[in-house]
């Protein structure tokens, strides 16, 4: 070819940086009625378009509509709203605890609460969860003890992880919640192994895993899709696309080219892309994928489209890299407000009940925090004895560790 343009290295850059006026006008957001709902055992090749759509149930007025409407009972919706309120109250309190020096670090999930909460409600209580650090809502929706979670955050004397893990890296076998890793992505492919084991055992529990859109670049994402598709593992693979990975916008993970749901097409895995701030839609797609998995239909990849409304973590200051106020104009809104609006529209909720529920959530969190702090905080103790550090490296402590423990004075 003649007159070829000069080769250029393309470096993706977000449309808006600090100082710019944020604007999401470029996003193409379909209406709930636009998307059909196939049978859960559909052949993946027949629903490739869903990877490029956006499944929604709640419309702009808070009405549930369209083929994906899961038709949930108001009682369940109220419990989900309560779990969202509790998650938010929990995050606020723990974040403040970090700021007050009671622990070293904290990570909120503000704006993404409908994901973990909606999915927890759509799964069975004994399905196994392989989360990242931003799905505290799973534990809360499963009614796990707030005090237990706080003890982990405070690394105190009741921390079941014995002060070993950074705050928010929860682990609870009883809650069906796999130990969170600091290394991004590793849980995604492990979940596939768990699901393969369940299938091997003819056990009809399934696994669900979460990963951030940023971490989809890690090998574990590729391994998860490869092994899940080949061995038809009963697993739900969730990509939480909250637009940011610390300071990197989703274009650095590939969002300029296509959706994250589309990754599944290369593996013949069905892909669902969903409004992650719409609890009903989140519930519906999760239930669809769970039904498929439980019927030997194998894995589903779900992209949950959302927005990280707050900082990456307590160590982060997003005003350094993105315009202020993006969260406020995020076109998919606030998941809590949308669910609240829906319930009010249904006549099953009111501003007054909402205020009461909010106050209740705050109070529950406050009470739990008081109890948790009575078992200690990172700054003031008490924590576990240093001698415990040598335990659990192996099931039985080998001689060299016993000697080291002794040398350390325990």
């Amino acid at each position: 070819m003649k007159n070829e343009p000069l080769p250029q290295l393309h470096i993706p850059e977000p449309l808006h940086r600090p100082g710019d006026r944020p604007d999401f006008g470029y996003l193409n957001i379909p209406e709930p009625a636009d998307t059909a709902c196939p049978d859960p055992l559909v052949r993946p090749s027949e629903i490739r378009d869903l990877a490029f759509s956006l499944i929604r149930v709640l419309d702009a007025d808070g009405i549930a509509t369209g083929a994906w409407n899961p038709k949930l009972l108001p009682e369940l919706l109220r419990r989900a709203l309560a779990a969202i309120l509790l998650t938010r109250a929990y995050d606020d309190r723990m974040y403040r605890g970090q700021r007050q020096g009671k622990t070293s670090f904290y990570m909120k999930c503000t704006g993404e609460e409908a994901i973990a909460v909606g999915q927890a409600f759509a799964l069975s209580r004994d399905d196994m969860l392989f989360p990242t650090y931003r799905q505290q809502g799973l534990l809360i929706a499963r009614d796990w003890s707030l005090v237990d979670m706080m003890c982990q955050v405070y690394s105190n004397s009741r921390d079941r992880l014995k002060g070993r893990q950074m705050p928010v890296f929860y682990s609870s076998k009883e809650a069906g919640f796999f130990s969170i890793s600091g290394n991004l992505g590793t849980q995604f492919s492990q979940a596939v192994g768990w699901a393969m084991a369940a299938a091997y055992k003819h056990d009809n529990r399934i696994a669900a895993a979460w990963i951030g859109e940023g971490a989809t670049a890690e090998p574990d994402f590729h391994h998860a899709l490869t092994f899940a598709s080949i061995f038809k593992a009963p697993v739900i693979l969730n990509v939480v696309n909250n637009q940011w990975a610390i300071s990197s916008f989703s274009g650095i993970a590939g969002a300029e080219q296509t959706t994250f749901a589309a990754r599944a097409l290369g593996f013949g895995i069905p892909a669902l892309r969903v409004d992650g701030n719409d609890l009903l839609a989140v519930y519906a797609v999760t239930r669809w994928a769970a039904d498929r998995a439980r019927s030997n239909g194998g894995p589903t990849l779900i992209e949950l489209f959302s927005y990280r409304a707050d900082a990456h973590s307590s160590s982060d200051d997003p005003s350094k890299y993105r315009p202020k106020g993006e969260a406020d104009i995020w076109p998919l809104g606030d998941p809590m407000l949308r669910l609240k609006q829906h319930l009010i529209r249904l006549g099953e909720w009111s501003e007054a009940r909402h205020s009461v529920a909010e106050a209740e959530a705050t109070e529950r969190v406050r009470a739990a925090d008081r109890e948790a702090q009575s078992y200690g905080t990172l700054s003031d103790g008490p924590g576990h004895s240093p001698g415990t550090m040598f335990e659990d490296v192996f099931k039985e402590m080998p001689l060299h560790l016993r000697r080291q423990r002794q040398q350390a004075g325990y």
Partner: protein
């Protein structure tokens, strides 16, 4: 008792574990229908069924990840990494996950995984089919590291590894698969038949992890070796005439430090042999421990004989390989030291 090669002994261990424990599953590249490129899993799929011994995609990191997930479920996965040189894509799942899971979850989750992988050179495999990367894993807390030197130990140690509730990396010196190789690559190949440790019980037995064995009793110098190097050391002793005691470490972590210290305190000299590159090899740890614990018994510096600090070269592999001549030199050298 039956004469078995190391391949057969490993196969027997796997067969027994599949039979005894329905939670044992075996997977890896080419291990299913075909039975593995070194034939260690031959016949297992036919006998135990497709879901119990199966092929995986070529993704060592994926294999380990799936094993961790299965372990969390409650299975006892035994995976094969086709060559130890290909374990690197799996390091994150091994080091950050399998090794740390029990500790970080306060003991709730664990990874009772066995990773079998052929290591070592001597088959003209060049730099990517000859490595012995054990030292990378012995530095990682939470993983046990094993390397047998003969069929009897291979079977007993492998059964122990599979039954162990912690992750174990089980290195199989591929040059020993079919015979006790002593480094004399120009001499006729010998087989395990007639070797005392080629006599292997057909039934279940264990060789305990964490215990060294004495490959040769001796009085003037202690040789610490494992895998192929045990046989090389035996040849070197033969050739040098030095009355060395040879410890076959068998398990590197946890290490049988007491056996080592006892022997070196008795002999007063120590030579360490491994096939991996010298710098930062497991020999460094051994030397550090021996000088610390036997300082006042030592007559001479501890010497290490190891692969050179170069990639394992294809055509020149016998110049790289720390053969009997080099070990014998070291034995003589420590004997000469005053």
């Amino acid at each position: 008792m039956a004469a078995m090669t190391m391949v057969q002994a490993i196969n027997s261990a796997l067969d027994i574990c599949l039979t005894r424990d329905p939670d044992v599953v075996i997977f890896g590249e080419d291990v299913g229908y075909f039975g593995g490129v070194f034939r260690c899993t031959e016949g297992l799929q036919r006998k135990h069924g497709r879901t119990r011994t199966f092929d995986t995609p070529i993704a060592e990191g994926g294999i380990l990840a799936v094993a961790v997930g299965m372990g969390a479920y409650g299975l006892r996965p035994v995976v094969e990494i086709q060559f130890a040189d290909y374990i690197y894509p799996a390091t994150d799942q091994l080091i950050s996950e399998a090794a740390r899971l029990r500790h970080r979850s306060g003991g709730e989750f664990s990874a009772p995984i066995t990773v079998r992988t052929p290591c070592g050179g001597g088959i003209y495999g060049g730099q990517t089919h000859s490595q012995s990367p054990e030292a990378i894993f012995t530095h990682v807390c939470g993983i046990k590291t094993v390397m047998p030197s003969n069929p009897y130990d291979a079977k007993g140690l492998l059964i122990s590894a599979i039954e162990d509730d912690d992750p174990v990396i089980f290195f199989e010196p591929k040059r020993l698969y079919n015979g006790p190789f002593d480094g004399h690559h120009n001499r006729p190949v010998t087989s395990w038949t007639n070797h005392p440790l080629g006599e292997v019980p057909a039934e279940y037995y264990r060789v305990e992890l964490g215990k060294a064995s004495t490959a040769r009793q001796g009085s003037t110098v202690t040789v610490l070796a494992y895998g192929t190097m045990v046989h090389v050391a035996l040849a070197a002793v033969e050739e040098s005439g030095v009355d060395a005691e040879i410890l076959d470490l068998r398990t590197l972590v946890p290490l049988d430090l007491d056996a080592i210290v006892e022997s070196v305190r008795k002999t007063g000299r120590c030579v360490i042999v491994h096939e991996a590159t010298l710098t930062g090899g497991f020999g460094a740890e051994l030397a550090a421990l021996v000088q610390e614990h036997c300082f006042y018994s030592l007559y001479a510096p501890i010497l290490r004989v190891a692969g050179w600090d170069t990639p394992y070269p294809h055509a020149l592999e016998w110049s790289y390989f720390p053969g009997p001549a080099r070990v014998a030199d070291a034995l003589r050298q420590v004997m000469e030291a005053s």
